[in-house]
């Protein structure tokens, strides 16, 4: 097995319980909610959407780098004959897969149980479709900004702070730009990935958000790669 393949295998095994846990949580909520019909289908879908969008990326991001630093296993990993950037890329790829799987499975369950019942199947696909880019970008931000955190707890806190800053920007946008100065720029929806969530409800500027977030994600990924390389030097 090549070292890169071995890395993939190792990361996959390491993240396995996290994505299975996320999958179990989300799918049970969607299944029980849509089966019992305790709330309108839309509310159940939005509930699972909230868990998928905010909690799962945080949970996965905690395990990518911070867990290894906490257990002091990152150092050993970097002794492998593989470039640091490859380790980073593999981690991010597995992280992306781990956050996307629960959303995809949830959308399949929702489609099978409630497609064209109260909401059209296209609505359900759109909602879950836009949650995946949000999850990936939120995970990316959390991982990149928590690279220097030595505990999972601190990494999670970094993610919470990132979310709080985004919410703060949206409130500022609503209060000052929109309501007081009457400027309809939707700026916060473009510079934060919340535009994807808005697009899920068929309101947001999805194209502008996608372009802006794509560029931002690429820059962040590159910066994260550089930080990871520097970090690994010190960890070595």
């Amino acid at each position: 097995m090549s070292p890169t393949k071995a890395l993939f295998w190792k990361e996959w095994r390491q993240m396995q319980w996290r994505w299975i846990f996320s999958l179990a949580m989300c799918c049970t909520i969607v299944f029980v909610g849509l089966k019992t019909r305790v709330l309108p289908d839309q509310m159940i879908i939005l509930f699972s959407f909230g868990i998928s969008a905010f909690l799962i990326p945080l949970f996965i991001a905690m395990g990518l780098v911070a867990e290894e630093r906490e257990q002091d296993s990152l150092r050993m990993q970097l002794k492998l004959p593989v470039a640091a950037w490859k380790v980073y890329v593999v981690k991010m790829a597995i992280g992306t897969l781990a956050v996307a799987i629960p959303a995809v499975v949830c959308s399949i369950i929702a489609l099978l149980m409630a497609g064209n019942r109260e909401r059209t199947s296209a609505d359900i696909i759109r909602i879950y479709g836009f949650v995946i880019p949000f999850e990936i970008i939120f995970m990316l931000w959390t991982v990149v900004f928590s690279l220097k955190r030595k505990t999972q707890w601190a990494a999670a806190l970094t993610g919470v702070v990132i979310l709080a800053v985004w919410v703060f920007l949206i409130i500022c946008d609503d209060v000052f730009l929109l309501e007081i100065w009457h400027i309809h720029w939707d700026l916060s929806l473009i510079i934060t990935p919340f535009g994807f969530l808005e697009a899920g409800s068929d309101k947001g500027p999805w194209l502008e958000t996608s372009v802006a977030q794509g560029i931002l994600a690429a820059v962040l990924f590159w910066w994260g790669m550089r930080r990871f390389a520097m970090l690994t030097r010190s960890d070595k």
Partner: protein, 649 residues
Amino acid sequence: MNTLTALFKKELHTAKWFLLGGVLFFWSFPLLEGTGTYLRSGTFRTDIPSEISWMFGGLFAIITACGLVCMDMPKGLYEFWRSRPVRLLPYMTVKYIVGLAVTLFVITVPLLLEIYLFRNADHSNSFGRSILCCHTFVILLIYSVAFCAGHLFRNMTETVIISCAAMLLIYFVPVLVPAMEPLSFFNLVTDGPAPNMEIVAKLGPNETPKSSIRPGTDWGYSFWGNRHMYWMSISSKSLLIVYVFKGFWLFTGTLSALSIVLVAGTWVCLKYHLQIRLGLKSLCWCLGLVALILFSTAAFSVASNLTCLAKISLPAGGEKVPPIIFCFDNKGGVMLCGRYDKSGLSGYNVLQIDRITEGPSYTYRHESYPLDISLPPQGFCYDSWRIAWSKQAPDIVYFLGINNSAQSSNTLRRFSLYVIRLDDDTHIARVLGELPVGEYDAEKYKYYSENIALDYPRLYLWLPNEVAVVDVGDDKQPRLLAKFAYHAGFSSGENGKTFSLPSDKTLSEEQRRRIMQHFSYEFRARAWDGDRYGEGGYDSICVYEKKETGTEKIRLEKIAERKLPPLEKLIYRGARRLILHDDIVYSLCNMSSLMVYRLNESSGVLKPIGHYAASEGGFYDMILRDDGLIALIGEKQIHIVQPPAIKSR
């Protein structure tokens, strides 16, 4: 520097980051919103603190407690602190007090600011006061749990996860277990009937006896508070009375006692070096399992959502106040909508919803007819029905209004019954006939609300001090048949109710019964179905059946009752409208949902057999259509819902 001061300084040094983070989070949003309202309207006001306090207050308490405890726990550090000449009790107590003080300071200061800013507002900010009075104790318990867990697990991540699981249990288990209802924070802060109250403080002249003032009766006085605590200030007597509901003591007492037990438990942990080691994986599964069990229990106990066959959008513009449909079936219905201009309510439109065609898309035709008859200045309230319509005469609307042209003085109101024809050609509501029904002093009958009921061709009018019976067989000339005083009311016993009948001898027994059924007022939602009577409130839904009919009274006996469990109370918040049909009770609840119960007479049980929760808007009224479907009428939409009884047939 003595030991205690040193300990305080040390803990404050650790806690300063939590204080800073908490202040940034809990104070910045209110300040931001307040600045926004100030720039918009010139008034600095915010109601965010109460919202973020109950949503994130528990989480902040966990973070602070875990942070303070677990930051002292890394390898060797805890042993170092324990090796200092400091006794266990002061070490633990100072840590507990500093963390709690930081938590409460961060959370309560914006709340106090919110309450202060709303002190002179038109509407009182009772939710903020409820949160302050009740949620503070929930925070205390959550903080104590996290503090204890921190000493037991000695690891930040594990402590946070365990504390979050405990927080979910504290919030939601009392909602799911009826026996624990007094400890349910959510049930405590939702509106409901006032339980027993007791006076806890009275500041004012001693000569004012406590018994002379009762909450709920002295409405003329300044009266503010929440469900648990009322402050009543009576300016004429310079008196301030504080009432507290007895349930409040049980809630706060139990939560405080549990907190003390947890602090004692922490001391035991420290004293005997108790420690639990759990992996993150098992903890996550533990938290997940707790969350899923709570969610599934709640979901399965609420039962299935009924199918909405169609959502019919009502035309935009014109607020429906109140959305009155007297009859609504496949042939149509009538609704009254307010018409507004810049100065406010300028008149009404009679909206006829006509020819609803069943099919995949539910098409309908509606026409709006401007109606320029003046209405009482106080406008409508939900329970005042002043419009009547029947499918026997679908283009006619009967309307109880005030004849402004005949106004003889400022305080006198002259009520007239208008027979209005909805003209399809011109789309104008034309008055066909007018029948003056009385002149009343508006000041004297300030809190009276008119009512009107139609059993075609008999129309019954509930006027300020009497009932009028009108024959509307001839559209152009409605005829007053009788007018008599009627004190509609009832007396309640343990297992029954006795309603008084109108004493007018010119009416048939059936007519007297119909008048009693139409106009017997109850603050709770009520419904008649032949000899059966149902009523629904915040705590329970009861069904009664006629046992005895006299010339002046009808006696009913309770045949079934459902005492609502805490979850049902929380979700539905009491009944707004009730329909009783055969053995089925339909209850339109205050939170946009419909609950359907089946009556089992032999066991005296009302069993829930279905519910419907709409995702948007609230419903004002509901109609059981001729075809058995239920029409839920909201401000913007009508939802047609299939009842479970039809499904099972």
